[in-house]
Amino acid sequence: MPTKPEPQAWQDPLIDVRDLSVHFELRGGILARLFGSDTGTVKAVDGVTLTVGRGEVVGLVGESGSGKSTLGRALLGLVPATDGSILFHGDDVAEMSRRRLRAIRRDIQMVFQDPNAALNPAMTVEEATGDALRVHGMKSAAERRARVVEALEKVGLSPVELFLSKYPRDLSGGQKQRVVLARAIILDPEVLVADEPISMLDMSVRAKILQLMLDLKQELGLTYVYITHDLASAKYFCDRIAIMYLGRVVEIGPTDEIFANPRHPYTRALLKAIPEPDPERALPRDLLRGEIPDAASPPLGCSFHPRCPEAFEKCGWESRDLRAVIEEHWTRQPADVYGAESDTVGDLAHLDTPATVARIGGKGAESAREILHRMRSERPDEPFWRGVDRVDDDGPGIRVVFHPGEDPALRSSDGVEVACLLYPESS
């Protein structure tokens, strides 16, 4: 019974994220540190624009490493924004002083993935829940206790007296997550950022916790940012869903529309990956090929293109894709063919530097061309070949020139917004 988006949600934005970026500096080994040079940055969140309306449930969905948690933590100012702004009540969270940030956390609270780790092992349930009040200046222990009892009752931990003096180690996972929820709502916040609140729990209590969160939303008028990698729970829970990939929002729209009519190939792949409970209707699932690329050096063009079944010329093909295709080809060859071909093609390590022109071979242009030809005839539907503009001779080897790529921006397309070159601006 997901609550449907109310039309006024758009008119009453509570959180307004504009072009937010959160980058982490990667520190290299001892030498790099000694010379103060850093070996790169991870763009955990890279230019995200997102509005959360009052009373709405917005889902952030994506695979591991897509920057969901970082975005969620940035909303509370737990990680500093590199760029962009987060407007909450018209104030920019990204610019706030530490003191202001601590005050704002009265209104935006967070629920964590692992309830076992989110509670201080040295504090009882009463202390842990009441500490939020104490931090915000409620001195009287009796007053705090009254509020704690009230909050614990709201999250369904009753009889409350039984739980007050318990330590986290005496509670089950579901009970711990209820305590975490009690701690989050005790300050009467407006927004709750829930970072995979059910993924560490037993199957049997997951639905109960989600239902509890929906009840709390009704009762307290909360707004949720719900982070998950599980589209099925997002469907149950969210009014709108933002699909994230490598720090970007690639598609965002109402839940029904996303499920009924997914636009982005990544969204479609995620939807296909949802287990089908009814074996009669289960389709053969082709899971996403390949791994999530390294966030420290994302692919050129659209960062999803190396895994995209529908990628075409403009998606940003480059040297690393060539390496991946060659190596994938070799996994299918017998040992002697592999030996001969790898000899002809030469070392591939230089292809790891992203470029739209890739040089390979060293034993004559013709033999290298021949290998490419063989690979292409073996897998003609491989999207990679659509990206190859031409192949030139280059001394003892060849030069593969790719079509220039384009980085798709988030554009609106019939009620949803999608960042994919397959959907040009519909105006």
């Binding site: 933590r73 509370l76 737990l78 601590r102 005050a103 956390r105 009265r106 609270q109 967070m110 964590f112 993935q113 692992d114 780790a117 989110a118 509670l119 201080n120 092992p121 040295a122 504090m123 500490d131 939020a132 931090v135 915000h136 975490v180 701690r183 300050l187």
Partner: protein, 318 residues
Amino acid sequence: MMRGLLGGLAKPFTQTAGLARWMLVAGLVLTAAFVVMAVFAPWVAPYGFAQSAADGARFPKAGPPGADHWFGTDRLFFDVLSRTIWGARTALEVVVLSILFCVAIGVPLGLISGYHGGWLDRILVLVMDAVFAFPSFLLAIVFSFLLTNLLGGSVIAVALSLTAIYIPQYFRVVRNTTVSAKEATYVEAARAMGASDGVIMRRYLFGNVVQSVPVLGTLNAADAILTLAGLGFLGLGIQSTDAAEWGHDLNRALADAGSGIWWTGLFPGLAIVLLVTGLTLVGEGLNETLNPTLRRRRLLPVVMPARAETTITGEEQQ
């Protein structure tokens, strides 16, 4: 509440077995005996530590053990038994004070250093490592030399010089546990709740990082007794008329040994050995129970069911 406290206190006993438990019990008994002597010294000791006469009668000079003076008397007419008992009080005072100073300075420094990191952390770690790398007894000599000039040969001066050599250990343990504990989700949860750095350190990290301090305290206590005695033996630190101190008495007993006066050296020496042994046993016993990396779990031996005799083994036997 009460039951939890008792359970916590009993933990070292319930969780140990065999040798470890005996070590702990023996250590506790020995240490407790000395603590009782120290606390009740005015009642337990027959005379004062710097008393050379009783009821108008002067004590014999270097008199052998006998009915009046069980452990004999020394060249300064002092009663050896009384000095040995009062010595326990001095030792206890110095050790307790130095541990208190260590905890009061080392724990907050380690907490702040580990939590904030950055240049402050680097400088503190460097300084503490340098102090730690220095031969500790040499350091104690230098410090007690400087501090006795400043504060006089008092218990506080000696306690402070012991503090200087043990602080790096407390600092290190607390700093390292803080560095790992601050990454815990519950710390981020506290931050997400709006807690300030001070609150996080006091209410969330402190309780979780001081757990190894009691073990460190007992282990260092044994070492501190030896260092204290060493300083006294070198004539640094506390003077005989200010307080009874075993090391200092041993120093004076050195001259007696040649002339067959054994009792002035034996009893203070024995006291040092027994107390150090007791404290070491307690420290090791606690370490065994509280430090999970050292604790050997009580494992039940795995009993394999007897296997039916097979033809292969039969052939092998031939």
